[in-house]
């Protein structure tokens, strides 16, 4: 697993909302490298720019200035649909509020990204069941979100995020709506995916407990990266953690 060039490179990324007197500088020049296979926790008070950064990293938003390289390609120049295709191919999303389609079975929810990818029915079913198995919910495949607990819903969401075998899993406060026991389960699931499947995980959190699972913690303050810490989470291979910490 080579880590050069980095999977993601942000260079002097700025983001400005509004115009004139009401202009707001959400990002004031962010530099950030993320290596393949890293598990990054993004922390910071609200308004620090962490959500804006995550939106840009998730290709949902474009920077106002600076460059964003993903696998060596400039993302800031891509249009809406090109970014959508990039998300479809390389990214998976997990949200705080789960964001599953209501009245839709777990299986159909997990299948959704594959539908857009144009897989045939058999391949879809197989991949979706595989993803559900990975999150330990294959026996619940026909349940709708309303019939699942919060923790289960988040696991379905994770299955949906990984069903396309993305390079990066972006998780926006994935445990924000869960109690501590479920939170631990979700974090262990993410850690396992990171370790076993090599998925790079980017996670926004404001809980230090959750950030403790990451190998790299990026602290944001006032639209800038304040500091980057490398740490040795329990169960993580030391060498990978050391590699990430070299930046």
């Amino acid at each position: 697993m080579a880590s050069n060039p980095p999977l993601i490179e942000l260079r002097g990324v700025t983001k400005v909302y509004g115009e004139g007197a009401t202009q707001f500088h959400a990002l004031k020049g962010v530099d950030l490298d993320i290596a393949v296979g890293d598990f990054v926790a993004v922390m910071g008070p609200s308004g620090s720019g962490k959500s804006t950064t995550m939106n840009i990293l998730g290709c949902l938003d474009v920077p106002s200035g600076g460059t964003f390289l993903f696998r060596g390609h400039h993302v800031e120049a891509l249009d809406r649909d090109q970014r959508a295709l990039l998300r479809r191919r390389y990214l998976g999303f997990v949200f705080q509020g789960f964001n599953l389609l209501s009245r839709t079975s777990a299986l159909e929810n997990v299948e959704l990204p594959l539908l857009y990818r144009g897989d045939d029915k058999k391949a879809r079913r197989a991949a979706a069941m595989g993803a559900l198995e990975k999150v330990g919910l294959d026996r619940w495949w026909d349940h709708t979100p309303a019939e699942l607990s919060g923790g289960q819903q988040q696991r379905v969401a994770i299955a949906r995020a990984i069903v396309t075998q993305p390079d990066v899993l972006l998780a926006d406060e994935p445990t924000g709506n869960l109690d501590s026991e479920r939170s631990v389960e979700i974090m262990e699931l993410l850690t396992g995916l990171n370790r076993d499947s090599g998925i790079t995980v980017l996670m926004v959190t404001h809980e230090a407990d959750m950030a403790a699972y990451a190998r790299t913690v990026v602290h944001f303050r006032d639209g800038l990266v304040e500091r980057i810490e490398a740490q040795h989470p329990p169960g993580a291979p030391v060498s990978a953690a050391a590699g990430a910490g070299n930046d």
Partner: protein, 402 residues
């Protein structure tokens, strides 16, 4: 990609069955109403035309009196003379035949059964002016006609009631005081255009009816066959002139007879029915448009309500066009579904209304196809705006939408 979009649309419709049903209700009613109205209109027109043509096309009916009925007050205008019949037949160009008619009523008796019916005395010309094939038996011969023999050709209603539906040709029955031989049975014609059963009739040579029933040689009614190559109106004008002269009507005095052109009546009735059909169809078409607006309304609400879902789809990697197509296909599938249900309901309504109105059941393929196509078109037109709105959503805002 279209297959996927179609699948997504079906799933979404299935998830919101009640809402989907309410959405398509307008289209169901619109399509149903248009198809029902057009079909019933066509059935009515066909019925009117059939009724009129059962009177015979290219026929002029001449009666004493002014206009329909007898006209108000005054002495009743005299009937026609046999000489009038000959004069019209021989002197007017474009006349193929003239059938005089003398009418009476009498009770027919056969074994235990009796039946009161209309007696129509006429000549063989009657059957050439307005062809009326026989179900069995024969027409009378010229000899029987001039001799005024009591030979009858009976309508099917008479056969049913007097002979209990059995074979009647060759049997003899009593008609009033006259003993009468059945030589033919007419094929069934059904209801006349203006009510009355055309099959409830006994047709005899006019001489026999005049001698044994009416007691005069007068002619109540003449049917004039007009050659296809001549215009009914010009033949009608010539006959009017001739009859005015023969009946001594001079100067500004009004005709004391009337000539009734079946073709003209047929045309008038047909165009009236068609006009009515068009008006009712237009009203029904408006309800289709209202149905379309209903779809747009619900789709707009649906886009707002499903903002977060759209956000999820966009985040997962749906491109704008896929979201647009999903909502568009959803609208089209919904409206086509509505169209389909409307078509089915229309056939039911047409069946029921035709039965109630005594009309033949008609299936008009064109209008069904057109109405269905329009329902699909409505889906495209009224689904496009909501779909574009959905596709234009910003994924971040959409995901944050509560």
């Amino acid at each position: 990609m279209l297959g996927t979009t179609f699948l997504l649309a079906i799933r979404s419709i299935r998830r919101h069955l009640l809402r989907s049903f309410l959405t398509i209700l307008g289209i169901v009613i619109g399509v149903g109403a248009v198809v029902t109205m057009v079909t019933l209109g066509k059935a009515t027109t066909a019925q009117v035309q059939q009724n009129i043509s059962s009177l015979g096309t290219n026929i002029l009916q001449i009666r004493p009196g002014q206009g329909f009925g007898r006209g108000g007050g005054g002495p009743r205008p005299p009937d026609f003379k046999p000489e009038d019949v000959t004069a019209i037949a021989t002197q007017i160009a474009g006349v193929t035949a003239v059938a005089p008619q003398a009418q009476s009523t009498a009770t027919a008796i056969y074994e235990g059964a009796n039946w009161s019916t209309t007696i129509n005395g006429t000549t063989n010309a009657y059957f050439t002016v307005q062809p009326w094939p026989l179900a069995s038996g024969r027409y009378w011969t010229p000899a029987e006609q001039s001799a005024g023999k009591a030979v009858c050709i009976i309508g099917n209603t008479v056969r049913q009631n007097l002979f209990r539906g059995g074979e009647a040709v060759g049997l003899r029955f009593r008609l009033g005081n006259v003993s009468c031989d059945v030589i033919g049975v007419l094929s069934t014609r059904g209801q006349a255009g203006f009510g009355g059963d055309q099959d409830d009739v006994v047709i005899m040579p006019i001489n026999a009816v005049q001698r044994r029933f009416t007691g005069t040689r007068d002619v109540r009614l003449m049917l004039v066959g007009v050659d296809q190559r001549y215009a009914n109106a010009s033949v009608q004008a010539s006959i009017t002139d001739l009859l005015r002269e023969r009946r001594n009507i001079t100067g500004g005095k009004q005709d004391d007879f009337n000539i009734f052109d079946t073709k003209q009546i047929s045309d008038t009735l047909t165009s009236t029915t068609q006009l009515l059909t068009r008006i009712v169809t237009a009203v029904a078409a408006i309800s289709l448009i209202v149905g379309g607006i209903g779809i747009m309304n619900i789709m707009l609400v649906s886009v707002t309500e499903r903002t977060r879902e759209i956000g999820i789809r966009l985040a997962i990697g749906a491109v704008a066009n896929e979201v647009l197509m999903q909502f568009l296909v959803e609208a089209v599938v919904l409206s086509m579904l509505g169209g389909l249900v409307g078509l089915v309901l229309a056939q039911v309504a047409i069946g029921a209304l035709s039965w109630a109105g005594g009309l033949p059941f008609l299936f008009v393929p064109d209008i069904n196809v057109v109405a269905f196509a329009i329902s699909a078109l409505i889906g495209v037109v009224f689904g496009y705006f909501p779909a574009r709105r959905a596709a234009a959503l910003n994924p971040i805002d959409a995901l944050r939408h509560e």
